[in-house]
């Protein structure tokens, strides 16, 4: 354990050591921007950076240390931007002098291992999912599940609940969804780690998927990209409009598009149970955190130009990696929010091309 402790310490030191000089340097061609946070968004950030490096010479040093770490690092000003799957509330943002904006959409997909049931066959409502995770529904042939799934041969098999053991934005989104749709879930609450009433914890998406695959009768939840890449048997969920939807890029995009961002101060919005007819009910976003007052305008400019560029040209790369790009009007809204990020002279550090 002390090895790990020391390693963490060393990593922090290294991070601050390489973060500070960069923040002070003018990001001319060949400059490096330093970010830290969400592990979920790390692959797409890297992919975007790779495409831009050839074009602009800008390079990205992104440390996937987890959303909580990202928030801590940006507050400590050791990085130029932080990234979190769990948005900060407006008062927290103001207290720390931060602004946030969504950068990429993702979501959570329940996956199952039920002999004889293939992906998309099983339909669940939000309250049923909550009952399963509360341990109230214990068998797959529970009358409630059988009644909701005519034509599906649900076996007499105990349900094994699998959840994430590590604190994670995925768990935060999942438990927030259950809180939103099932009043009963209030006994557990929503957080990136909760006191699970039942089941087993797997470490990371890998761990959850491993337990689900090895346990007949298991249900777990993983990130959409992970479920898609590993072709796991997903569950179709009922959304706010009452339809059972498949987790696809379109249903995630529909959730993001039908959300009412105009009322979301500081972009604090979880895309849960959005009203769109085809909206996937457990959708979320990775949010980028930056300081409102940039001590070095050039660094702020480099970060924003990186995301502007990614919004303009990065959608194909996002789709390729099974992420969901922001819908066009949300991108416009995000770009206009950037005027709040100012340099020492009080002027916006970056003006996106109209």
């Amino acid at each position: 354990m002390f090895r790990n402790f020391a390693f963490g310490l060393a990593a922090c030191l290294a991070l601050s050591a390489c973060g500070k000089p960069d923040a002070a340097k003018a990001p001319a061609a060949g400059a490096q921007i330093v970010g830290a946070g969400s592990t979920f968004a790390a692959p797409i950030f890297a992919k975007w950076a790779e495409a831009q490096k050839a074009e602009t010479g800008l390079s990205l040093n992104y440390q996937a240390i987890g959303s909580g770490g990202g928030i801590k690092q940006i507050k400590a000003k050791t990085v130029a931007f932080g990234a979190t799957d769990k948005p900060l509330k407006l008062e927290d943002l103001d207290a720390a002098g931060l602004v946030q904006f969504p950068a990429i959409i993702g979501g959570v997909v329940p996956v199952v291992n039920i002999p004889g049931v293939t992906g998309g066959q099983l339909k669940l409502t939000g309250p049923q999912l909550a009952d399963i995770y509360l341990g109230n529904i214990k068998k797959w042939n529970d009358p409630a599940l059988v009644a909701a799934n005519p034509g599906v041969a649900l076996p007499n098999l105990p349900i094994t609940v699998v959840h994430r053991s590590d604190g994670s934005g995925t768990s935060f989104l999942f438990t927030s969804y259950l809180t939103a749709v099932a009043p009963k879930w209030a006994v557990v609450g929503a957080n990136d780690a909760v006191k699970w009433p039942t089941g087993q914890g797997g470490k990371g998406n890998d761990g959850v998927a491993g337990f689900v695959k090895q346990t007949p009768g298991a249900i777990g939840y993983v990130e959409y990209a992970f479920a898609k890449m590993n072709s796991m048997a997903h569950v179709n969920l009922q959304n706010a409009a009452g339809t059972f939807v498949e987790p696809t890029a379109e249903s995630f995009a529909d959730a993001a598009a039908s959300a009412d961002w105009s009322k979301a101060e500081g972009f604090y919005l979880l895309l849960l149970n959005e009203p769109g007819a085809n909206a996937w009910p457990i959708t979320g976003a990775t949010f980028v955190l930056m300081h409102k007052n940039q001590t070095d305008a050039a660094t702020g400019r480099a970060v924003l130009s990186y995301f502007d560029n990614a919004f303009n040209k990065g959608d194909a790369a996002a789709n390729e990696l099974a992420y969901v790009p922001l819908p066009a009007d949300l991108k416009t809204r995000v770009r206009s929010s950037w005027s709040a990020i100012v340099g020492p002279d009080g002027k916006p550090v970056y003006a996106p091309a109209p």
């Binding site: 354990m1 002390f2 790990n4 402790f5 963490g8 240390i65 987890g66 959303s67 909580g68 770490g69 928030i71 801590k72 094994t160 053991s165 590590d166 604190g167 994670s168 934005g169 557990v188 609450g189 929503a190 957080n191 990136d192 780690a193 909760v194 006191k195 699970w196 089941g199 087993q200 914890g201 797997g202 470490k203 761990g207 491993g210 337990f211 090895q214 346990t215 298991a218």
Partner: protein, 321 residues
């Protein structure tokens, strides 16, 4: 590692008295290296205590006796993780000690000379495999096998309503307390085997030869001469193995099932101090959550310290024999 250099021998050499500047500098260098280590250790304890203070202050003694771990309501107790840590480490020790003894005895007493080096090296190589690899192997290879060939037969043979059934309930996918203990046993085995082998090699040849000369069989020599000779040192080696098992993190995290609270059966999910910290530290943002995890770290430190101190005492006694 067992060799003890008597202090007065070094101090009384005349060389130190006519020390030149270089000697003096060398002395200071060595001294500061040693004190730096002590300072780092002290700093670690102090920072763990300071970091964990909010948790101790908030929960008081109850922190050690409550198994409640609820990050939403910010209620934390160490009992579940401490129990998981002690249980997995002890079971791991019970499994690996006979194996380690067997390996060591075979290598020293019975092994044909050409095989001695390859087997010895293989045991040492096992010690070099990173913890995470054991975790992945445990989750994807060992757990399915264990579930199919050990756990399922045991669970299905248990009569309903008996104590045995209570002790064997769990999710039939090969994860849980017992699996974690077995993985831990494999991980500490090479270290213990190597230490025990070193201990066997410290037995003066004439002692063993004399026993053979009296007409003892190999088994009698091992049982009546070798084992008693290394007894105290062996306890030290066991304690060091225990120390390693207590702090093992990644492999356990993958396979233990990670649920807070007291484990109720050998196939039940549980958690250890190290696995809880590894799982939650990166994303812990609340003051009390972070501080409870640091406090857990301090508890583990104290447990490990006690175990290692006992090991020192036993190994010291062996060296003085």
């Amino acid at each position: 590692m067992i060799a003890v250099v008597p202090g007065e021998l070094v101090a009384s050499t005349p060389r130190a008295a006519r020390g030149t500047g270089l000697d003096r500098a060398f002395e200071i260098l060595c001294f500061s290296a040693a004190t730096f280590l002590l300072a780092a250790l002290g700093g670690l304890i102090v920072s763990l205590a300071i970091g964990g203070w909010p948790a101790f202050a908030n929960f008081g003694v109850g922190f050690f006796f409550s198994a409640e771990w609820d990050p939403v309501r910010e209620i934390y107790g160490a009992a579940g993780a401490v129990t998981g840590t002690l249980v997995t480490a002890t079971v791991a020790l019970l499994i690996s000690l006979p194996l380690a003894l067997g390996v060591a005895i075979f290598l020293v007493e019975l092994c044909p000379t050409p095989l001695r080096r390859p087997i010895g090296t293989a045991v040492e190589l096992l010690a070099g495999i990173p913890s995470i690899v054991y975790g992945m192997w445990g989750l994807f290879v060992f757990a399915p096998w264990f579930s199919k060939h050990v756990q399922m037969p045991i669970m299905m043979s248990a009569k309903p309503g008996t104590l045995w059934e209570t002790l064997t309930t769990g999710v039939p996918n090969g994860s849980g307390i017992l699996s974690a203990s077995i993985i831990l046993a494999i991980m500490i085995l090479p270290f213990m085997a190597a230490t025990l082998r070193e201990l066997f090699l410290t037995i003066p040849p004439q002692v063993r030869e004399s026993a053979y000369g009296l007409g003892s069989t190999t088994f009698e020599v091992i049982r009546n001469v070798s084992l008693p000779y290394i007894r105290t040192g062996a306890i030290g080696a066991v304690m060091l193995g225990l120390g390693r098992a207590l702090g093992e993190t990644m492999a356990v995290t993958f396979i233990i099932g990670n649920s807070h609270g007291f484990p109720t059966s050998m196939f039940a999910s549980g958690s250890t101090i190290a696995s809880t910290i590894a799982n939650e530290f990166a994303e812990a943002t609340g003051v009390l959550h972070t501080s409870s995890l640091i406090a857990l770290g301090l508890v583990l430190f104290v447990i490990t310290f006690i175990v290692l101190a006992l090991a020192r005492v036993f190994i010291g006694r062996q060296a003085n024999l």
